[in-house]
């Protein structure tokens, strides 16, 4: 059993790691949700729709998509012709990625746009240049082309989580939204 001193040490370490992650998170905001909606569905008006998935629906979506459904509330908008625009999140390399998906009345994906990409480097805290470029940045900061946050190269990033998130939302459309009145 963990004694009090070890518990304190662990707590401090956890808190430190959290602060470290906060300091070394890279966040690039590409579009606001409004900009993404206008780009995916130009000239089309949408209404916010309150969609709360039941436990049975969440289970059915998980079963159909093979992806866990974390949230019962959807951030969803519907157009008069049956198009849907949904804002969601997936877990990226280390952090959440916000994205928008447009689904046509037929259930086909019209487009996917990343709204905010985040990546954190917990072990990069000692790199002063890396930290310097992140100081004062928030996810709402406007993007400045290559003067704000640098381009990153490295092992190719996999977008598999975003593909999973898309499959989850397409199954959500199939099982819940397509029959929404």
């Amino acid at each position: 059993m963990m004694n009090r001193r070890n518990l304190l040490k662990t707590s401090l370490f956890t808190a430190g790691a959290w602060v470290t992650c906060q300091n070394t998170s890279y966040a690039k905001t590409y579009l606001t949700s409004e900009q993404a909606r206008k780009l995916i569905f130009p000239g089309k008006s949408f209404k916010k729709v309150q969609v709360t998935l039941t436990k049975a629906q969440m289970k059915a979506i998980k079963s159909a998509s093979r992806v866990r459904v974390h949230h019962s509330n959807l951030n969803a908008y519907k157009a008069a012709d049956g198009s849907w625009f949904i804002i969601d999140q997936v877990y990226g390399k280390h952090e959440f990625i916000d994205f928008a998906i447009g689904i046509e009345p037929s259930g086909k994906v019209k487009a996917i746009e990343v709204l905010t990409y985040r990546e954190s480097y917990g072990h990069q805290v000692r790199h002063p240049k890396w930290r310097a470029q992140l100081v004062g940045k928030t996810v709402t900061d406007p993007v400045k082309v290559d003067k704000d946050v640098k381009n990153i190269s490295g092992a190719t990033l996999s977008a598999v989580h975003l593909a999973d998130g898309t499959r989850r939302l397409l199954n959500t459309w199939q099982l819940v939204l397509s029959s929404h009145k």
């Binding site: 690039k28 990069q124 890396w130 082309v145 381009n151 990153i152 092992a155 990033l157 898309t166």
Partner: protein, 278 residues
């Protein structure tokens, strides 16, 4: 001056397009839209995963059968073949068999035998844009097509002659103009004991490849076509070249090559340069 930045999931990664120029935001977004269409076209033509892609049609074709391909696919296959000869066989996109064996690529249906032909066994006819296999072979353009897709988007954007800044970055394979005063950040690779850091762009395009991995960095594979097996060392290399297709392909050769002399000769041929972290 307007500027926009977009990011879409394509080619199995995140493709970032950033533009600045004396245009309105809607006009810049329209250019982004058309640039992404070019990336999607490369994905559609050259996907190993898609059984209906042009590449899959070539892979499934019989020995001796002539297949007409698009100018894009032809260009990538032609450059692959040229590089295969220039690298003494170290660059070869016909390593799909090994990747299927490692379950990194899906096994094409109806095929049980894994062919071991090389890209040299492909006959190319530039006049008619046809390809013909002289041996059974499976081509995977995963080591070069991402760079080519970046070039396709980049060339379209720069041909508009109205942009002051263009940057296309497909998950680390990137090309930008102007590049001379630009810095990029190389993501850490723990297996290669590289802590990450800033480097200046040395050419218009850059690509990075890694092999080996740890719990924080997914294991990546590079197949040695001469030994017919995955290389086992941990390493990371970044290549700076005049096109993203060259940079992308050269990283694979840099990871495989034994002596510096051979790689330097090749790099000099293309006025490219590289950084290794191992």
């Amino acid at each position: 001056m307007g500027q926009v930045s977009r990011c879409q999931p394509l080619l199995g990664t995140y493709v970032d397009v950033s533009l600045a120029g004396n245009l309105s935001e809607p006009e810049l977004h329209q250019l982004c839209h058309r640039a992404y269409a070019r990336v999607r076209e490369v994905e559609r033509l050259m996907s190993f995963h898609d059984p209906d892609s042009e590449l899959s049609i070539v892979n499934k074709s019989a020995v001796g059968e002539e297949i007409i391909v698009s100018p894009q696919t032809y260009k990538v296959l032609e450059f692959s073949q040229k590089l295969h000869a220039q690298s003494d066989g170290l660059f070869d996109p016909c390593i799909a068999s090994q990747l299927v064996g490692k379950r990194l690529l899906p096994s094409p249906k109806r095929f049980t035998l894994r062919p071991r032909g090389s890209i040299a066994d492909l006959e190319l006819d530039a006049g008619r844009l046809t390809v013909k296999k002289h041996q059974k072979l499976w081509i995977d353009l995963g080591g070069i097509a991402k760079g080519f897709a970046v070039d396709q988007a980049f060339d379209f954007l720069t041909s508009q002659n109205c942009l002051d800044h263009v940057s296309v970055n497909a998950g680390g394979d990137m090309r930008m103009t102007p590049y001379s005063d630009q810095q990029i950040y190389l993501r850490p690779h723990l297996a290669a004991r590289f802590n990450g850091g800033d480097v200046g762009m040395l050419r218009e395009a850059c690509a990075t490849s890694t092999v080996g991995g740890t719990h924080q960095q997914a294991t990546s594979f590079v197949v040695d076509p001469l030994k017919n097996q995955c290389i086992s060392k941990s390493a990371m290399v970044s290549v700076f070249a005049h096109s993203a297709m060259q940079a992308d392909a050269f990283t694979k050769i840099c990871l495989l090559v034994a002596g510096e002399q051979q790689i330097n000769t090749l790099m000099n041929l293309y006025d490219a340069t590289y950084l290794t972290h191992d």
